[in-house]
């Protein structure tokens, strides 16, 4: 009922948090992890996700890069004497289907340059993205498609 890997993840988080790598502490971590997950048991949707570590790492690196880039770009933008922005919302047709993938993608988009996920359509086919520079939405969509979305699909299949 409660996915074991989540419990293990939380137990590890516990051990790291408390900084005490002892067996009793690990057991305590497992117990607490199981306990808190038990509380949210109904909302855990255990999707069959296989993680490909290498692809996931690539995704993480891509994210780091994009994050820094985005921050720099925003910094440059707001510091420029003339605010030259053409913002707007565009609809991005999603290829990923699973909740967790959509969420991940939306979050990554939000964290990266000039884009911000505003909403997901009810049929989960479309992600509405607010862009700082919406002069060429097609290019922005293309960047997402070959960037984050592809990496996500590679990492979690």
């Amino acid at each position: 009922m409660i996915p074991v890997r989540y419990v293990v993840l939380l137990a590890l988080a516990w051990v790291g948090m408390s900084g005490s790598f002892t067996l009793p502490n690990l057991i305590l971590g497992i117990a607490i992890g199981w306990g808190v997950l038990f509380l949210v048991r109904d909302q855990l949707r255990a999707a069959k996700v296989t993680v490909r570590p290498w692809a996931a790492l690539l995704l993480a690196l891509l994210f780091m890069k994009e994050l820094i880039l985005s921050a720099v770009r925003v910094a440059r933008l707001v510091l420029s004497p003339r605010l030259d922005v053409k913002p707007g919302i565009f609809a991005y047709p999603l290829q990923v289907e699973r909740d967790f993938e959509i969420t991940l993608l939306a979050n990554l988009i939000t964290l990266t340059p000039g884009t911000l996920s505003v909403d997901v359509s009810e049929d989960r086919r479309t992600l509405f993205v607010h862009g700082m520079d919406c002069s060429d939405p097609e290019r922005a969509k293309e960047e997402i498609r070959i960037g984050f979305e592809r990496r996500i699909m590679e990492a979690f299949r």
Binding site: M17, A75, G88, I89, L111, S117, V118, D119, F128, H130
Partner: protein, 123 residues
């Protein structure tokens, strides 16, 4: 713990982080509407804080505390986009218009349909 290098790195990180935070703040002031301001806050702001937390983790050097600092940064990275998303969605559906200079709005027709379904009230 990590000696001189660690100190330099930490110093650098906090200065860069602080500068990012400053940029975010300036963006918050200068950008024209709430959606564009959100870009500044949720990117530069998040990054700035995270950098400073990482610096703290480096400087402290104690494993558990370092892990916590990094976990804090991670948590921050996890929550910031969600918060931004929620606020953007809420603002949009509550009818706060975008800046006049905005060039397109492809969400407009979608909102009409979802309002019909009474989804906005949420809960």
């Amino acid at each position: 713990m990590m000696g001189e290098f660690g100190d330099y790195l930490a110093g650098l990180l906090i200065v860069v982080g602080a500068l990012f935070a400053l940029t975010a703040s300036i963006g918050l002031l200068r950008l024209p509407d709430v959606f564009t301001r959100m870009h500044a806050a949720s990117k530069a702001g998040t990054l700035g804080s995270c950098l400073m937390l990482v610096a703290l983790a480096l400087h402290i050097g104690e494993f558990a505390t370092g892990v916590r600092a990094l976990a804090g940064a991670g948590f921050f990275v996890l929550t910031a986009p969600i918060a931004a998303h929620l606020l953007a969605k809420a603002s949009y559906s509550a009818g706060y218009r975008m800046w006049e200079g905005s060039v397109r709005d492809e969400l407009a027709q979608n909102v009409v349909s979802s309002k019909k379904n009474g989804q906005i009230q949420g809960g």
